[in-house]
Symmetry: C2
Subunit: 187 residues, 2 copies
């Protein structure tokens, strides 16, 4: 029998504006095999980038980074580490804010997130932090005493806490307030 955890969808978000990775909240989305239609990261394939140094840059690879998820608890820890009141999922470009799974980032690849609306997502692994969210944090906090250092500090503080990337295994609906069942891969 598989181990089953549960978590709750606190927010559903998408990057609908092509000019920025910052996301905006919606009540619900209907995912297809490419992710969230209209979102910046939607697609069955995408060009290989700096996160895939094993492939020539720009070569088409399967899109395993369709959605990203962060946890309420880890966002709070990042905020504390940076001396901020809060770090919002919008600023991290997250598509899902989950509550009740404090160590979301440690969820193993292959874990399935199963939503009551039928959608099934697969954890593709940890989302390693880059500087961009720290640049957003710096722009949003002009009076922060260490404002200039926030991009670098973000990468340090968010390591191991920045959540996971996911791909769609089964299309369906994902809504704010959903109870999510998580099946861990057998070991």
């Amino acid at each position: 029998m598989a181990v089953v955890l549960t978590t709750r969808v606190e927010a559903v978000l998408g990057a609908w504006d092509a000019g920025t990775f910052v996301t905006q909240r919606v009540e619900a989305v209907e995912v297809d095999f490419g992710g969230i239609p209209g979102d910046r990261h939607h697609g069955l394939t995408r060009p290989a980038g700096s996160r895939e140094p094993m492939y020539p840059r720009g070569t088409p690879i399967r899109n395993r980074r369709q959605l990203s998820a962060v946890s309420v608890e880890e966002c709070a820890a990042i905020a504390t580490g940076l001396g901020l009141d809060a770090v919002l999922p919008e600023w991290l470009g997250a598509n899902l804010l989950l509550e009740g799974l404090p160590e979301l980032t440690r969820l193993p690849a292959g874990a399935r997130l199963l939503f009551p609306g039928g959608a099934g997502l697969v954890c593709e692994g940890e989302n390693r932090p880059c500087r961009h969210p720290g640049e957003v944090l710096a722009a949003l906090h002009p009076l922060h005493p260490e404002r200039e250092a926030l991009p670098v500090r973000f990468v340090q503080v968010a390591r191991g806490r920045r959540g996971i990337v996911l791909s769609v295994e089964r299309p369906g609906r994902i809504a704010q307030g959903d109870r999510v069942r998580i099946w861990l891969p057998r070991s």
Copy 2:
């Protein structure tokens, strides 16, 4: 820096005959985003089955079982455990026979197999054994002293040794004799 292992492709195989899962050797294949064109398990999606009890049977899900791989060393261990001279990858329906990675089955989900012809495969996890290969073994060994028990014995003996399932991350060529680099996911 990622940890990199290496292995060698001893054989490339496909199930070209729709009537059986038993595979046949070829010199090379050209994988696309669905797997090996013409092979029984090729497809971007497939119907959910008994291995996915979290989904309604028959519902379309992404095909994460496009290819399967076994190791020379684990096939030999299964053969020993069953009192056979050899267990061939054909009888297990394997698409790749790899040499030099004795614990292939323990490769973590998310590990990448990178081929000199450009193909990149992602480990989707352990291939848990079912009875069918044991039925093939029983049919092929009519004089085996425990012939009737081979399907059940196979499941017992092959557990943790039956190799892995994979999906295509980057299309390309896979050929007999290839040296394969394996990138482990960061932990």
